[in-house]
Symmetry: C2
């Protein structure tokens, strides 16, 4: 270690001059807008020559520093050619949005300041901005004023948080002694159409995948509340400890909403934590016309909404909202010497699974402030209307709808004269004209179509319908 | 649901014209650069009038849409006034970096395309770029070619992942039956100077906080390997199942590195998973001069490095790197109908705690490609030199160093003629001239100083030393 009175220069490739930063940022502004326009006109599917790509990628051995402008241009080109495009207006896909501009701007601000969102001591204003947005969402869902919560990186993290809260409330010794503190095995309940991440969550929380009860659906993709009630009662009789019921508001497969109020009543009668996974469907709260579809969410102990789904922010910007926040502080408390000392009940590091965290909430704050509930309501209603138009056209051409979602997911099967679903989807994706998923709904193979892009036009709808139909004809 | 053949317009506040997007992006380029320059000249501490801020924040009821340019200006102003500045050259703080420009540029690209990093089917190029960076980091640490891993949002998530891997490998029935599958209580071992997130992790994984053994340190902030060996042996004798030893390479308090090779030998002799939390210190691998300090990391089953610490990317950009990847697929496997079907062993949703995820790895890819190992080596060595200069000056003024870190953390106590540490830190932070932490090192209260900013100058070092000394004089 030298004691000489000088320091080496900062590394210019990491900390360039203001002039360089502005030049590259200006370049990105132009090139990203160009790429966005090309994407909308081109294939929704990847067209990358993977062999060539892998060869080029292998060349990055990080020995020789690369000039940043060609490096960024190469990165943009690989993304333009090497990914399914969430920003394509005919991506009728898996709840992944074309991100709105305000969230991208907010993200630039968050990145430039890079505040540490672990504590209110480090980031008093950011922590309060996040709390303000969470309270607004909680209020919109009919939660009481003392409700709280936090931003997460994903719905999986938020759903996992609900299980930790449920376990911590159910058994006072869980925090100290873990799952072994319970007098018997524990169980959590969700429908068989729930998000499959729940099985990972059960594994990760130490309760085991066998603790997850996948309750039957009612023939229309919604949790059968009588089957739920029977499952909980049966488990209790056998010495199992029910800890959590998780309803889904907007299933991935069919966009269906479980009977939220009935599930709440069952949870209350058994004294278990009631969580609603509204990761996608929760955005319908913004619409005065659609929010009634979520009636019953106000009875939950907690719920999840991912702003990076139907609120169209960049990934990942999830939320965990809880009626009672004391259990969060019990579940995630820590004692530490080095953190800023003015701890508040809001401090994320004391109330969440995370520690260091990006300022995620600014994206939804800026987006909500720019659009208002009204703007987001229009955004959500427009997607529902897009799917109505797709449905009308497909039904008119002999297709059949298998689900009956009030939201923006349509599950269809083709008329008999067209080919197999597997072939139709493969042919469609090969054409690059649109992206849809193949999945199962109520035991039947279906084509799943979801409106995710806020700028999809009727011409895009027509193109989807024509492309789907064409994909079913002999190729 | 209307069947009329039209669609409402896209919501312009969320999806503005190209001209608007470019105008606002250009504004941000200028305003963020201006803010960055003002921050470096101003106070490192928040100066926000919180009462006024709360009043303004309460005004955002999301009823009336706001014009986006004043909204972004307001947001920038609150960040400029309302957070401890990680981007201030005299933030000598908690491993939170001033982010390098390449990571901010990469983040803009990732946000604009918003690829879904759950699967290689959705994002073939991004998933391979992340895997390439992970392999490069693994190789730099001396891991074999078959090593793998993934990006995480934080070191906490990565450390938690190591515990899930350890439990899954230790007991084949853990995944199905949870912690109860073990024949007795389990235990994990780290030092008493480990990151406090480990206690939350033990809670969240269902093993309970009592399963965490905080092993004594050696008087210099490093895990005492004899005490570790004794603790494991004692537990086994009592029917406890040791599952994980987690050494720290760069403790938060003192920047110390546990005896990595000795810990590895103990883990191997007991057949438990060996993890190294190198969340901060791992960046020293980039330096040919310093990488030897991490000798022994190549013996680990897994390790963690946060690129958003010493690699100076934006938050959160952590990494989990594993010698054997099969256990990841066992721990995080899922079956699902709707995901793209060309699943590969790389698919993040099948190998990580997350599901939907941002393209985090592009930040480190672009930064590493731009700077090379050599640039990052210079960045890390420069921070060590900054701390050497701080130390020289403080020792010359009668301060005493309490730790002996080979990295960039200094723990000091003032000479007797100055005031109490508590008062010195409070006075220093009130002055806004620099940010340091008060913590404990080996049972003694200390002032902790860490070089985190890649552009800190000797003038900043002088200012810190003068400000610290002044803060100890009668105010």
């Amino acid at each position: 270690m030298s004691a000489s009175d000088d320091l080496p220069s900062p590394v210019p490739s990491l900390f360039p001059s203001r002039a360089t930063r502005e030049r590259v940022d200006d370049l990105l502004t132009r090139e990203l807008a160009n790429a966005n326009e090309r994407i909308a006109r081109g294939s929704v599917m990847p067209r990358l020559d993977m062999a060539k790509f892998r060869q080029e990628l292998a060349g990055f051995d990080f020995e020789t520093p690369q000039a940043v402008e060609p490096l960024l241009a190469w990165s943009i080109a690989q993304l333009e050619l090497g990914a399914v495009h969430m920003t394509h207006p005919r991506y009728f896909g898996l709840f992944n949005p074309a991100p709105g501009a305000p969230s991208q701007w907010a993200d630039r601000i968050a990145g430039a300041f890079n505040p540490q969102l672990a504590s209110s001591g480090s980031s008093p204003a950011p922590v309060e901005i996040e709390a303000h947005v969470i309270r607004a969402i909680a209020g919109r869902a009919g939660f009481p004023a003392e409700a709280g919560g936090h931003f997460t990186t994903s719905g999986s993290e938020a759903n996992y948080t609900s299980l930790i809260c449920a376990l911590t409330r159910a058994e006072p010794r869980f925090g100290a002694d873990g799952v072994r503190a319970f007098p018997g095995p524990v169980a959590l309940y969700t429908s068989r159409d729930c998000h499959p991440a729940w099985s990972k969550i059960a594994h990760q929380a130490g309760v085991g995948r066998c603790a997850l009860r996948l309750v039957a659906t009612d023939g229309n993709g919604r949790m059968d509340s009588r089957a739920l009630s029977e499952a909980v009662t049966r488990d209790r009789r056998q010495g199992v400890v029910p800890v959590l019921i998780a309803a889904t508001a907007g299933t991935t497969g069919g966009g269906m909403i479980d009977p939220l109020a009935s599930c709440a009543a069952i949870a209350r009668s058994h004294g278990v934590w009631y969580h609603v996974d509204a990761a996608w469907g929760g955005a319908a709260l913004a619409s005065d016309r659609l929010r009634g579809e979520l009636d019953g969410i106000e009875l939950a102990d907690s719920f999840t909404i991912d702003a990076h789904k139907w609120f169209a922010t960049t990934m990942g910007c999830g939320m965990f909202v809880a009626r009672h926040t004391a259990v969060l502080n019990e579940a995630f408390r820590v004692a530490t010497d080095f953190m800023p000392t003015n701890a508040s009940s809001l401090d994320p590091y004391l109330n969440t699974v995370q520690w260091s965290r990006r300022f995620l909430g600014l994206r939804l704050f800026v987006s909500l402030a720019a659009a208002g509930w009204k703007g987001y309501g229009a955004h959500v209603e427009r997607a529902v209307e897009v799917i109505a138009q797709v449905k009308n056209r497909l039904l008119a051409r002999g297709w059949s709808a298998m689900n009956d979602s009030s939201l923006a997911v349509l599950c269809v099967v083709p008329p008999a004269e067209l080919g197999e679903i597997r072939d139709i989807v493969r042919n469609l994706l090969s054409s690059g004209r649109a992206w849809v998923a193949r999945t199962n709904f109520e035991g039947r193979e279906v084509i799943r179509i979801c409106a995710t892009h806020g700028e999809t036009t009727l011409a895009d709808v027509d193109e989807l319908v024509n492309a789907l139909h064409a994909a079913g004809l002999p190729q």
